[in-house]
């Protein structure tokens, strides 16, 4: 919801005196906190975990990954150990999880244990990806050759479903889009949704529909509301995931489905 910002800016433009600049602002520093980003891909039966820690706001902008964590999944009575793939990334493949099953994770790091659990969701598949020329003259990035991309899928009737739509432009992941939704009001219907990213003509756009569990949805819902800026921003807060012991991040599961369109 940057609409209000836009209106405020427009007012400023009308008065031709507004200005935006970079300022030096002193910020408090805080103790580093652990972030665990654990994704279980039920379509590919794999799990990938990134363990990192926070750094001070003005320090270099890169993820500080943490090695040396011991990570295990518990599924039914089976314990699966994750292997360190590259610095700070841990993974396991050839899982055997089915919708409705509960999977637990435990992360041991520096004598602390962080745990969380997730329930494997049902799968939904993209049926169509479409584009329209975006002709609303809002914002400077909107030139005449901008497209909005819509994705269509069939919702599973009789259960609550959670979705996330994300995209890749020319095979590069579009970061910063945390749009999630439920099927509230659309149960069992065909759902069509755009992603709030404008795409340039000529791009190869891959849409990915994630049918997620509730934990994943909750986390990204919070993340999306912390990321709205300016006039309409909610009071800032740290999104709370499902990990115990005050770790940031989440353990979520999803099914994935992709379709590609050439604009």
């Amino acid at each position: 919801m940057k609409m209000f910002n836009m209106i405020a800016l427009l007012l400023g433009v009308v008065f031709m005196t507004s200005c935006e600049d970079i300022i030096e602002l002193e910020l408090d520093n805080t103790e580093a906190r652990i972030i665990i980003e654990a994704n279980l891909d039920a379509t590919n039966q794999s799990v990938s975990v990134i363990v990192s820690e926070s750094n001070d706001f003005y320090q270099i902008a890169e993820q500080i990954r943490i090695d040396g964590a011991v990570i295990e999944l518990k599924h039914k009575d089976e314990v699966i150990s994750l292997e360190r793939e590259s610095s700070g990334i841990y993974s396991a493949e050839e899982l055997n999880v089915r919708p409705g099953e509960v999977v637990e994770i435990s992360v041991d790091l520096d004598n602390e244990t962080y745990t969380a659990s997730t329930m494997i969701p049902s799968a939904s598949n993209l049926t169509k990806v479409d584009s329209i020329k975006f002709d609303v003259p809002i914002g400077p990035e909107m030139n005449g050759d901008t497209y909005q991309v819509f994705s269509t899928w069939q919702d599973m009737a009789g259960e609550v479903n959670y979705y996330r739509l994300r995209s890749y432009t020319n095979d590069v992941y579009d970061t910063g889009n945390f749009f999630v939704m439920t099927d509230d009001g659309f149960d069992g219907n065909v759902i069509t949704r755009p992603v709030r990213i404008p795409f340039e003509g000529g791009s190869k756009v891959t849409m990915e529909l994630l049918s997620t569990d509730r934990a994943y949805y909750n986390y990204y819902l919070q993340l999306s509301s912390t990321q709205s800026e300016g006039l309409n921003s909610a009071v800032p807060f740290n999104p709370n995931g499902n990990f115990t012991n005050n770790a940031l991040g989440y353990f979520g599961a999803y099914h994935t489905s992709i379709l590609t369109i050439q604009l």
């Binding site: 427009l10 408090d28 972030i35 270099i60 309409n232 800032p236």
Partner: protein, 764 residues
């Protein structure tokens, strides 16, 4: 109600029994326009006296005898009339503007030392005419901005009309336009107020010591009264400015009996913008408002007033639009039952609604919502004797809250949405009593109630915000009622002719809560009624004041300290989903609040240089179990320091200069203390809620008014003003973002640089 009347009659009969008392009653009016003079003073030589009520009515009961009665009102020549009081008499007095008025500037519409003697503590009165000289943004007069220059009243954003009173939130202010509640007093995101100064007669803000006749908000009451219309002759006034123009017509349709006033205003920022650039050819960006009022006297005992307001904001691009506005209507009937009992009956309608639409090719989205009030009100003023003036009455306000209605391609998406209905009642009695020569007390009680009415469904939510249970209620069923007992008392003790001590305590219950997740008063803010899940907010406030005048009332000094306690404050939980959410109760957290501070005001009211210095030192904090680990944290509106300096200098009768300088501590905000990455994106890490501060705000505005011609027949002037004269880049918002080469940085948005403007005003 019957008991109160009985009580009154007992009081009345005892005074009748004493025998030789007679009553002098009537109205006080402006000789030139016929407008009623409210809060004017009627007194006899020994000092016994009363003030006129909101409709200019007074009643003075004295023992039989000869009296010299003086009628006075600031800015007007005092009239002394000899009265032989040997029977009840009616006397309506018209005051004219004194000869010395033209070269004298008065700041407040009070008797010169009223600030010392009246029982009002925590009250700000401003003369609407005076505010016209204060420099403003784009030359558009804004009474709400002028109030923000007084101690205890703080601005909620750059250029904004929203205000905080004594550490209270914006929604804790009751704003009444001719008794009609106004739910959104802002135009263009708050840069302009909905009150067109041309149509206003009197504005009073109660920061504390709120009289018993008002209720329903925790922090303050702003009582805005529209002009009645000139009863003597037809007049026109108006102005043409850079971005807006206004016109007011007023006059009698039946001389001295009935008059009418119509006042309109429209901005044309979009027209101006289109002249400069082609980018906005498809854009609409304007607001308009229209005030109208008519009144008529039927004989000497009855008078009817009808007044209304319509205002609307429009934002639009080709396929995208926003509009919102207020509509109010007030019908009033004044009746004097006898020379001591005055009554006013009001019927009020008020609505505030907004709509939003987007039509982007294949998808059309519409969202609309609104609040509608139907109010019936009965007020009595009873002038028992010069030492006791009573006010009592009741009001009943039926609220209808239309929920967010979300349409997608013309189809309503959420069919669960239903209008919520509620009835808010108030019953009050108060008495202003003079005890001896030095002590005056105004004490009273307001009993309020608030009922939720069916049809409706109340839901109970669990920690995951899921619905645990639902209870449905039938149409017309009163299924939940809150009661409030709200004592009000304020006292004044006169130390000597130049100074007084004042104290007040009051309790206010607030049954409606504005939920806002933004800084500016955006139109999508939601008004939510109290309900089984949402308890009413209760505010208790004590205040102490010391008032002192110097050099025969040329300088007025006052200081007040206050402490306020709030119970059942309402706020959004972290990450609340607000847009189009009809289960909004699941997204709330409840808590408590406290606010305290000291206010200082030094005014100079006479001479070539007039103006004031206002300073507030204050603190406002909130606490909730779910926020900040249950610790107290600063409310956004916590302003440690708030300083305003206002100066008006009259160079000669034709030229006057004005300047204001404001300085205040930045809002309490939550800035990141660190950062981390999730899903390939930078995410800010926060520690303490509202533990940081926006940069300190300060700004100088200056204005010059050149009176080109000033006669009774025609007068006009040019007003030149400069907003933010030294181009201070005050931060409107600060965003934290990823910089060009992998760095992170803070980006400041400063909305207004130096803005000059020119307005031509006329009057004939």
């Amino acid at each position: 109600m019957k008991k109160v009347l009985l009580l009154i009659m007992v009081f009345a009969s005892t005074s009748v029994l004493k025998g030789q008392d007679f009553t002098l009653s009537g109205y006080m009016k402006d000789k030139d326009s016929g407008e009623d003079l409210m809060y004017a003073t009627v007194s006899e030589e020994s000092g016994l006296g009363v003030t006129t009520n909101l409709y200019g009515f007074y009643s003075l009961t004295l023992p039989k005898g000869n009296y010299k009665i003086s009628y006075s009102y600031v800015g007007f020549e005092t009239k002394v009339i000899e009265v032989n009081l040997d029977r009840d008499q009616e006397l309506t007095v018209e005051l004219g503007i004194g000869a010395n008025e033209l070269d004298q500037v008065t700041i407040t519409a009070e008797k010169a030392d009223d600030n010392i003697t009246n029982t009002e503590v925590g009250v700000v009165s401003l003369d609407v005419k005076e505010t016209l000289k204060i420099p403003v943004l784009m030359g558009e007069q804004n009474i709400l901005k002028t109030f923000q220059l007084m101690p205890g009243v703080a601005s909620n954003s750059e250029g904004g009309s929203g205000f905080f009173v004594r550490g209270g939130a914006t929604d804790q202010n009751l704003i009444l336009l001719d008794e009609a509640p106004v739910y959104n007093a802002s135009h263009l995101l708050g840069f302009f107020s909905v009150f067109n100064s041309d149509a206003l007669k009197d504005v009073k803000l109660y920061k504390g010591g709120i009289p018993a006749e008002f209720g329903g908000r925790a922090s303050s009451v702003m009582d805005v009264r529209m002009k009645d219309g000139n009863l003597k002759e037809w007049k026109a006034s108006g102005g043409i400015g850079v971005i807006s123009s206004r016109l007011t017509l007023e006059g009698p349709f039946d001389k001295d009996k009935g008059s009418i006033i119509v006042s309109g205003r429209r901005t044309y920022a979009d027209v101006v913008a289109k002249a400069f650039t082609d980018d906005y050819d498809d854009a609409d960006l304007y607001f308009y408002d229209l005030n109208a009022k008519a009144n008529y006297k039927f004989g000497s005992k009855d008078r009817i007033y009808l007044s209304g307001y319509i205002g609307r904001d429009m934002f639009g691009f080709e396929d995208f639009g926003f509009d919102w506005g207020n509509t109010t209507f007030t019908g009033r009937w004044n009746h004097t039952f006898n020379n001591r009992l005055f009554s006013n009956t009001s019927i009020v309608y008020s609505d505030y609604d907004y709509g939003f639409g987007l039509d982007a090719g294949a998808v059309a989205v519409e969202l609309s919502s609104g609040i509608y009030d139907y109010l019936l009100k009965q007020d009595y003023n009873y002038y028992l004797n010069p030492n006791n003036t009573m006010k009592f009455g009741w009001q009943s306000n039926f609220h209808e809250f239309k929920p967010s209605e979300f349409k997608f391609d013309g189809e309503i998406v959420d069919n669960d949405a239903y209008s919520r209905l509620a009835l808010e009642n108030g019953l009050y009695w108060s008495n202003e009593q003079k005890i001896g020569g030095r002590l005056t007390a105004n004490y009273g009680l307001r009993i309020s109630s608030f009922s939720n009415i069916g049809p409706g469904t109340e839901k109970v939510f669990d920690a995951e915000d899921d619905v645990v249970s639902e209870t449905a209620y039938d149409e017309g069923e009163f299924y939940n009622t809150f009661y409030g007992f709200e004592p009000r008392i304020s006292t004044t003790y006169i130390l000597d002719g130049q100074s007084s001590l004042k104290a007040s305590y009051n309790r206010n219950n607030q049954y409606l809560h504005l939920l806002s997740n933004s800084n500016a008063g955006t139109p999508t803010d939601i008004w939510l009624p109290s309900s089984p899940l949402v308890k009413p907010t209760i505010a208790d406030q004590v205040a102490l004041g010391y008032f002192r005048n110097f050099k025969s009332n040329t300088y007025k000094f006052s200081t007040e300290v206050y402490y306020k306690r709030l119970q059942n404050t309402v706020d959004y939980e972290d990450g609340a989903e607000t847009f189009g959410n009809n289960n909004i109760e699941s997204e709330l957290v409840f808590g408590e609040g406290r606010a305290y501070g000291a206010e200082f005001l030094l005014e100079k009211t006479k001479g070539k240089l007039t103006g004031w210095i206002g300073y507030t030192l204050s603190k406002s904090e909130l606490r909730s179990n779910e926020i900040n680990q249950g610790n107290w944290y600063s409310a956004r509106q916590d302003r440690t320091h708030d300083l305003s300096i206002v100066g008006l200098y009259e160079i000669n009768p034709k030229l006057s200069l004005s300047a204001t300088w404001v300085y205040y501590t930045g809002d309490a905000v939550t800035f990141p203390a660190g950062k981390y990455y999730v899903d390939g994106s930078l995410v800010n890490l926060y520690t303490e809620r509202n533990g940081d501060r926006m940069p300190t705000y300060h700004r100088l505005d200056a204005g010059l008014t050149w009176t080109i011609k000033d006669t009774d027949k025609f007068s006009h002037n040019l007003n030149f003003s400069v907003y933010n004269a030294y181009n201070r880049k005050n931060a409107y918002s600060i965003n934290f973002e990823e910089g060009a080469n992998g760095s992170t940085q803070a980006s400041r948005l400063a909305l207004f640089g130096t803005i000059p403007s020119l307005t031509w005003n006329f009057n004939f």
